[in-house]
Subunit: 209 residues, 2 copies
């Protein structure tokens, strides 16, 4: 059912739909229309139907979608029907914020390994996870089978951390360091640039001028 | 030259192109093709041309784009040819990380006002900005003319902070709290959900299984 040519914008919207469905389910709603979902998340009903159509037929015409079924289906599409083990490298302000970010655990991401070089941090516990020295990165990541690495170290260290994570068996990297990383083509890499979010806002503000 | 129907994905790519052009300019490159930009940022040349075509004709056929001109043009499109005054509310781990995020200042965003309720934080200086008590939010934001607010408070306080920012004159809000905010239609609102980035990765990892 999955095809490889799904636009990233669709995946991001699926992620948003699934949160909306989760809340609808919690409020006891059983069936929902594409129009309801569209209103709830701020896109057009046609966009909702188009996004879902990539993955086959879900709804019943005139009735809508079963909330629980659709939610479960989207989680499966997003690869969220199992727990993902995430290794976080770098426990500065951003690393601390990420390690305590409730949204990760709710969505099945467990930051089960945390690494830093600061002797004041190594050995302490953050959200029930003992902080390890970065020297132990390969051993720990490999032994625990972490699939995803989050890089929250200064830019100058990001590439070597990426190399070490990949060597230790990580298949995907989320990079918060403001630097372009080189990784083999089979590794999934995503760079997070928080300034982009502000720029979408200023683009719209500039339009209003 | 600007039209209102620009897809958000295009705006995000423009932001990425502008970073690439900035680096190309620093390396002394004078002209660049859509293929070079495409290779550099990982999209197709046709996509680059299509994105830029929304805003008129930039390049010269067979010659390419002048790096400096195109960079300046994109910054102007993104509303980045002037400094934006940003007010940050909430100085937890995420707020601290955001307040020291170099990428903001580089792109013309000045976090010139910071608010918190913690007596241990109020009055201290973070990156040369004195932390104000949140009681002074309206007075300070209004007096300084902050145009953008960043909400980095716990979910339960986000709506009231949004209301107060808007009353104080803010035109756009970047919300990091995991809650849906209600704002008037004329206010630009963007929610940042960091888990979405992980979900794009797991979608791709799940495809490989």
């Amino acid at each position: 059912m999955k095809t490889l040519k799904i636009p990233e914008a669709t995946i991001i919207r699926l992620s948003v739909y699934s949160r909306y469905l989760y809340m609808a389910d919690k409020r006891g709603i059983v069936t929902i229309s594409s129009g309801d979902i569209a209103d709830g998340v701020g896109v057009s009903p046609a966009q909702v139907r188009k996004d879902l159509a990539y993955f086959g037929e879900f709804g019943t015409r005139g009735v809508g979608y079963n909330v629980k079924d659709l939610h479960r289906h989207i989680l499966k599409i997003l690869g969220l029907s199992s727990i993902w083990h995430v290794a976080l490298v770098g426990l500065g302000n951003l690393g601390l914020a990420l390690s305590s970010y409730k949204g990760f655990r709710e969505r099945g991401f467990c930051i089960c390994s945390i690494f830093d070089t600061d002797p004041a941090k190594v050995g302490t516990t953050v959200n029930e996870v003992v902080v390890e020295h970065i020297d132990r990165l390969e051993v720990v990541v490999n032994a625990r089978g972490a699939q995803i690495g989050i890089i929250a170290v200064p830019a100058g260290f990001a590439q070597q951390v990426a190399d070490r994570l990949i060597k230790a068996g990580v298949k995907a990297i989320l990079n918060f360091a403001p630097v372009v990383l080189n990784v083999p083509p089979e590794i999934e890499l995503r760079n997070v640039d928080l300034a982009v979010h502000l720029e979408v806002l200023t683009f719209n503000l500039a339009l209003q001028k």
